[in-house]
Structures are given as structure tokens and as C-alpha cells.
Amino acid sequence: MTNINGKAYAMNAITPMRAWKSPILRLIFWLAPLFGLTDLKNLSFIHFARWVIVPHDKFPWLGGKQPRESVQSDYMLFFSNFNGTWNQYIDAFSAVLSKGLNYFWCWSDKFPGSVPVTGFKKYIARVQFDTDFYYNPYPYAATNDVKAAHRVQAALDDFAAKSANMTEQQFAEAYLHFLIRVQNDLGALGPAPEGT
């Protein structure tokens, strides 16, 4: 059982909420992309994340001898694939996305708020459950590595097209500009630091 594969951490959390609150939260989730989820993108340490509301009467029932569920609360499942340690992740969310977190989780029972962070971490630890199998297709690449790689690819394609028939002098100048363009995105990939 492991939550970690390379530089990615798989977090799973489940929180209960009163069924009457679900439509409100669905509306908030529907509105969230309209605001661009910019802060999440700017944090740039989450590959993929999802929030899933499971209504109390919508747990999958396949028939046969499987009994129907009779829980009364709706449940919100949260799954994230992030880079860094668990503490860094929760700290960053609390410090940068506290408003957004509160909008999403205030409907869950006993949610203490994302600030101060100590109570928030206790709550997350309580509602989190571990991953049994986790596959990562690019284990040595963090989200920033992926974004940097695409920028380098785009810059290389651009430079290759423009430099195809350049003189030596033209190439020298263009190559310098190319390096300046990609210099912040170069660097080696590698395993995550030990202990994370």
C-alpha cells in the first residue's frame, strides 16, 4: 500500500455532509471553473484533482446479493495527485487557497476551517484513507517539469523552423535567444528527495 509514486502523492479523503447541502455545493463547483481555478494552476503542484459528491442513495448497486446502502448523509470524495510532502501540500492550501477550501469544505460535517492550519491538518488526517495501488506514467516529473517540458518543446519547434536556412551569424544570435527563452525550463529530472 503506498500513496507515493515518484514525485506524486495520491491523496484520498471522504467527508460527510447533510443531503440538503449538496445542491449548494454542486452550484459552487459548477461556478468554480468560471473563475478559472487560477490559484490552483498558479500553485503548480497538482497534476490532477477531483471532487465527487456521492448522494446517500447513489452508491452503485449492482443487484444480486449486494444490499442497498442506507446511509443518510451525502459524501464528498476528494482525490488529488500532487507533488511535495503531505505537510507542504496542506500548508500551501491553507496559506494560499483558504477561501476556496472553505467554500468547498464548509458544507462537510465538523469542518474546522482551513485556518488555523493545525486543526485543518487534524481534520484531513481523520478523513483521509490510503491508496492500495498508484500508477504514475512519469514518476520523475513534477507538474512544473511537465509544464517546462512543453514550453521547451514549443520553443525548440519554433527555433528549428526559423533556423533551418540561417547563416552562421544569424544562427548564433537566434540560438542565444533560444537559450534565453528556455533557460528557466532546463534541468534534469530525477527521483523525489528521500523521506517525502
Partner: protein, 199 residues
């Protein structure tokens, strides 16, 4: 928005696990044991399925009681949760999944109620959709690039870094022909294998 963000699809399924009432042959324990031994990295079955980004498998035993006044209640079944982030649409992906790794899918989902097997991709897809729960909000940071494009870009990043380092300070008379050769070699180099160490 739902399950899709750009060209990325976020599939979430909850498959009820068989409860045969016998602790000696508990399906959930057998499933956990199987998942603990499942090959990973480039040898993972999911590495063989084109367009597959992240996959997780989680045995969820019960819901959580967070304390009064929340309800202290329990599920009657345990669930195998599977989340998968992949390129494109659901139906083609499920067809490819069933055709590419049927034995591996059977070894995992045989512990679940009503699983028909992956030999018939249509029945497999129908089963998965019965277990699917709608993703209410899906976030994909890079949602306009396929897995193949990402793996290739990571190779390019590494290769350009090595080239810049090797030819630092060299005159254009040396760098320009080397760069043309570099581009040719790069275009002939396949993308790294998914899951391989080093990417």
C-alpha cells in the same frame, strides 16, 4: 465541466466488493493482497494502455465518522475505488482498456459484485458505467496535451539541457551543424515508455 477538462477525462468508479460472509476468504483482503503485489512502473498493466496518465486503486472499507453531530453510520458494502486520468473520451478508452489488459482487469475486478469479465469489451464498459460516479469538479493542470506529447516533451527537455551543456561556449561553426544533427536524432528517438524510471 463534470468528468472532462480540456482533452483530459477523469473517471471515478466505485465497485462494490463481494461480501461472501467468510472471513477466511474475504474478498477485500484478497483484493488488497493482490493490489500490494501488482506490478508498477513500466511493468504496470496500465503502462500498456495508451493515453493513461494517473491511475489509483483504493479499497474503501467504510465511511468516516467525524464526530457528533455528524451521523455515526456505516456502509453495507466495501468498495473498490478506481480513479483514472486519461486522454480523450470514455467509450474508446474503455474499449482499449478491455482489449489491452483483459487478464489484469479480471484479476482485480473479479472480487467485485456483478463483474462480467473483460473478454467482452462492451459488457466490460457497461459494468464500468454502472459503477461510475459523476466527477463533480475535475481539475487537470495540463489539459491540452496527450500522454504521448508529454512523454516526448520530457525527453526533449532532457535532451536540450544536455545539448546546451555540451556546446556551451562553442562557436556557431560547431554548434549549427551539431544542432541539425541533434534535431534529426531527436525526431528519430521514440517517446519514453510510460512509467519508466528516469522520466
Amino acid at each position: 465541466m463534470g468528468n472532462q477538462s480540456g482533452q483530459s477525462y477523469g473517471l471515478t468508479i466505485l465497485s462494490p466488493i463481494i461480501n461472501n460472509g467468510s472471513r477466511a476468504a474475504a474478498q477485500d483482503l484478497a483484493l488488497r493482497h493482490h493490489l500490494s503485489k501488482l506490478a508498477n512502473g513500466e511493468h504496470s498493466p496500465f503502462a500498456k494502455v495508451p493515453g493513461t496518465h494517473f491511475v489509483r486503486l483504493v479499497v474503501m472499507g467504510d465511511v468516516v465518522f467525524v464526530g457528533y453531530p455528524a451521523r455515526d453510520e456505516h456502509l453495507k458494502s466495501q468498495y473498490l475505488i478506481c480513479t483514472a486520468d486519461f486522454d480523450g473520451e470514455l467509450d474508446p478508452y474503455l474499449q482499449t482498456l478491455a482489449r489491452t489488459i483483459p487478464a489484469e482487469l479480471d484479476a482485480i475486478w473479479k472480487h467485485c459484485v456483478g463483474y462480467p469479465g473483460a473478454t467482452d469489451p462492451a459488457k466490460f464498459a457497461e459494468y464500468i458505467k454502472k459503477c461510475q460516479v459523476e466527477t463533480t469538479l475535475y481539475f487537470s493542470d495540463v489539459n491540452d496535451r496527450t500522454l504521448e506529447q508529454t512523454l516526448k516533451a520530457l525527453l526533449v527537455k532532457t535532451a536540450v539541457t544536455a545539448f546546451a551543456e555540451r556546446y556551451q561556449g562553442q562557436p556557431a561553426s560547431v554548434v549549427q551543424p551539431a544542432f541539425k544533427k541533434f534535431l534529426t536524432e531527436l525526431s528519430q528517438t521514440p517517446a519514453p515508455r510510460p512509467g519508466a524510471a528516469g522520466i
